[in-house]
């Protein structure tokens, strides 16, 4: 409970500091807060659009959290989701005639496999060559961006479009948005991703796989003594992580754009790091922290329109300050300690 309170304190401190910046450039913090909330939850349509940000962040948040448990830092979710979306779109364009249900399943497997191999490669490099995963996953991000640009411009390009995007995928691959959201492109992707999150929660907390992850993350040497191969855990967790990031194809390609658009992701992979951190690597907490960061993403677009002096980049400040606020563990624990001691002193003096 205190841990949760500390997290909340960190989030509040970050948000507060971010709003102070808004005050500096001459925008009332209260107004900024109202714009953020209104544009995220104001109507069924805006709620649907917010969820359209939240679902990819749920996936990338898990993609960062799972290797984190094994002591790995995956900065490559951005590249993995690019490759996942690319493979899903390519498969859908290559085989346009699959029957509806089977088509979606094929695209999902392709997305998970593409992202998984992209991420697994990073784990493999660490396990066999000892290359640090932070550097290699960043390099893989750059390579993925260039590769995606090549494939989108030369192989699956829509010749009738001026933008760098693929031709549209056929009807049978498309997830139809729910009318509930009044036109926002959110539908089946939401329950599917929630189900994946719940399953993974139990896998991580209750299964042997989850235990091995945790064992390697907490103490590599102890895990090795007990016959758990850390190399295998590294490769497996990075594969799973990449597969999850790759599944961003589900809400984005199959559920929203119906095509691969170059640069479709507004940095989901990087924001996923913040999502996972605020949730302290627990899947259940990722459910709400992904929503928090989705509100920031969605609201930032409205800040461009509805305020005079602020642009969407203020959201980077807020995100960074929230991460710093939450990660300043010792600061908050000292404050709690100080209060506890004061209470003890009071108790003694009475």
């Amino acid at each position: 409970m205190i841990l949760f309170l500390r997290t909340l304190l960190g989030v509040g401190a970050g948000l507060g500091a971010g709003l102070c910046v808004a005050a500096y450039v001459g925008e009332s913090p209260w107004k900024v807060f109202k714009v953020l909330m209104g544009s995220s939850f104001g109507s069924a349509y805006s709620l649907g659009t917010t969820l359209l940000y939240a679902v990819p962040l749920l996936l990338t948040g898990m993609a960062v959290a799972i290797p984190f448990r094994a002591g790995l830092f995956n900065i490559g979710a951005e590249g993995q989701l690019t490759i996942g979306a690319l493979t899903a779109a390519s498969v859908a364009i290559l085989f346009p005639d699959l029957p509806p249900f089977f088509a979606v399943l094929t695209a999902l497997v392709a997305a998970a496999l593409g992202g998984g191999l992209w991420g697994g490669f990073v784990g493999w490099l660490k396990a066999t060559r000892g290359s640090h995963e932070v550097i290699t996953s960043i390099m893989m991000n750059f390579i993925a961006a260039a590769l995606a640009s090549y494939v989108a411009l030369y192989w699956i390009k829509d010749p009738s479009s001026a933008a760098a995007e693929s031709v549209s995928i056929s009807e049978s691959y498309r997830l139809i948005p729910w009318t509930l959201f009044e036109g926002a492109s959110m539908g089946l992707a939401l329950p599917i991703c929630l189900a994946i999150a719940l399953i993974l929660h139990f896998v991580l907390e209750r299964s042997v796989f989850g235990f091995r992850l945790k064992a390697v993350g907490e103490n590599e040497n102890a895990a090795q003594y007990h016959g758990i191969s850390r190399e295998r855990v590294w490769i497996e967790s990075m594969f799973l992580s990449g597969a999850l990031a790759g599944l961003v194809a589900l809400p984005e390609v199959l559920g929203n754009a119906y095509k691969f658009k170059l640069g479709f992701s507004p940095g989901y992979g990087f924001v996923g790091i913040a999502v996972a951190l605020v949730a302290r690597g627990k899947i259940i907490h990722i459910l709400w922290s992904s929503l928090l960061f989705a509100v920031l993403q969605k609201g930032s677009a409205s800040l461009d329109l509805e305020t005079e002096h602020l642009n969407r980049d203020i959201v980077y400040w807020i995100q960074a300050l929230i991460i710093l606020g939450v990660s300043a563990e010792v600061l908050w624990s000292r404050i709690f300690q100080w209060r506890r001691e004061r209470n003890r002193r009071k108790a003694r003096s009475t």
């Binding site: 910046v21 450039v25 830092f73 900065i75 490099l125 060559r129 000892g130 290359s131 640090h132 932070v134 550097i135 290699t136 960043i138 390099m139 893989m140 750059f142 390579i143 260039a146 590769l147 640009s149 090549y150 411009l153 030369y154 990087f270 790091i273 913040a274 951190l277 002096h309 602020l310 642009n311 980049d313 203020i314 959201v315 980077y316 400040w317 995100q319 960074a320 300050l321 991460i323 710093l324 990660s327 300043a328 563990e329 010792v330 600061l331």
Partner: protein, 287 residues
């Protein structure tokens, strides 16, 4: 031919070398530094702002470095005093650096994407290149020949021994963080004051991360790290030269594959040639 190739190589390697020297000192003192990329952006932006408002390239460069030191001291407080996870806090600093320039430049100049173009007199032609080479030479000498270098290395290798000798590990690590702030910001200022003629959004373009790769490649030693930077400089210069060149068949090499070149070189070199690079023993650990 040599002039036409060597000059671009050194030009491309300049920001890498500066940032990488910062990385060497910071990581040698035992603090992981993945915020080089962000500090570069801060240096590029505030360097351009200072140069624009004073009309002097020198003041611009100094202003950029000062801003970098202030920025990195936020990181220092977070990791050395609040004990935040160093990679997490470093990523947060990178986020912050993506947000600070656009918001401020929209507020000051009415454009979120870039600062106003700098006049010729507020730019450098040569200085940052010399400065980078000097930083390598000075780092190399300090690293192996001075008490300062030895103590910095001990802060990262065996902090307890250093503390036992009566030297504050915390002070050494603060020095590492501040040096990395100054040098990485100088790298950014080199971008905006020498390689380009103003700050533009995202102009560091991953160079901070490549500099970090160079540090690992150079096994955290100044001279090998500088050589690794030159290797990446060659890859970048080659990337510019190769665009539109027909290597085989009839069509030019697609631009995307040329763009991948520096990153693939990094991956191959990290995976293939370093073997298991040994990081400073206490890197990333706080006692």
């Amino acid at each position: 031919m040599i002039e036409a190739f060597l000059f671009p190589v050194f030009r491309s390697a300049t920001p890498l070398m500066l940032a990488a020297m910062g990385g060497v000192w910071c990581e040698r003192s035992g603090v992981t530094q993945i915020a080089l990329e962000g500090i570069m952006l801060i240096g590029a932006f505030f360097g351009a702002v200072a140069a624009y408002s004073t009309g002097s390239a020198w003041l611009g460069f100094a202003g950029g470095m000062l801003a970098g030191m202030i920025f990195s001291s936020i990181y220092g407080v977070m990791v050395l005093h609040a004990r935040a996870n160093q990679i997490v806090a470093g990523m947060a600093m990178n986020f912050l650096a993506m947000g600070v320039p656009p918001v401020l430049s929209a507020f000051w100049y009415g454009s979120a994407g870039s600062t106003p173009m700098l006049p010729e007199s507020a730019r450098f032609e040569w200085f940052p290149i010399f400065f980078a080479l000097a930083s390598v030479v000075v780092s190399a000498v300090l690293y192996s020949k001075s008490r300062f270098g030895l103590r910095m290395r001990f802060a990262g290798e065996h902090p307890k021994a250093l503390a036992t000798a009566g030297v504050s590990v915390l002070v050494k690590r603060w020095q590492g963080v501040l040096i990395s702030g100054a040098l990485a910001a100088a790298a950014g200022a080199a971008l905006s004051l020498c390689l380009a003629s103003s700050y533009s959004r995202g102009m560091s373009a991953g160079r901070g991360f490549i500099a970090l790769a160079a540090v690992i490649l150079g096994k955290w030693k100044p001279i090998p790290t500088a050589l690794a930077c030159l290797l990446f400089g060659v890859a970048e210069a080659a990337q510019i030269r190769l665009q539109g060149v027909v290597l085989w068949g009839t069509e030019a090499v697609p631009v995307q594959f040329i763009q991948m070149l520096p990153y693939i070189v990094t991956l191959v070199v990290l995976a293939g040639f370093v073997g298991r690079a040994k990081a400073p023993e206490a890197l990333g650990h706080m006692e």
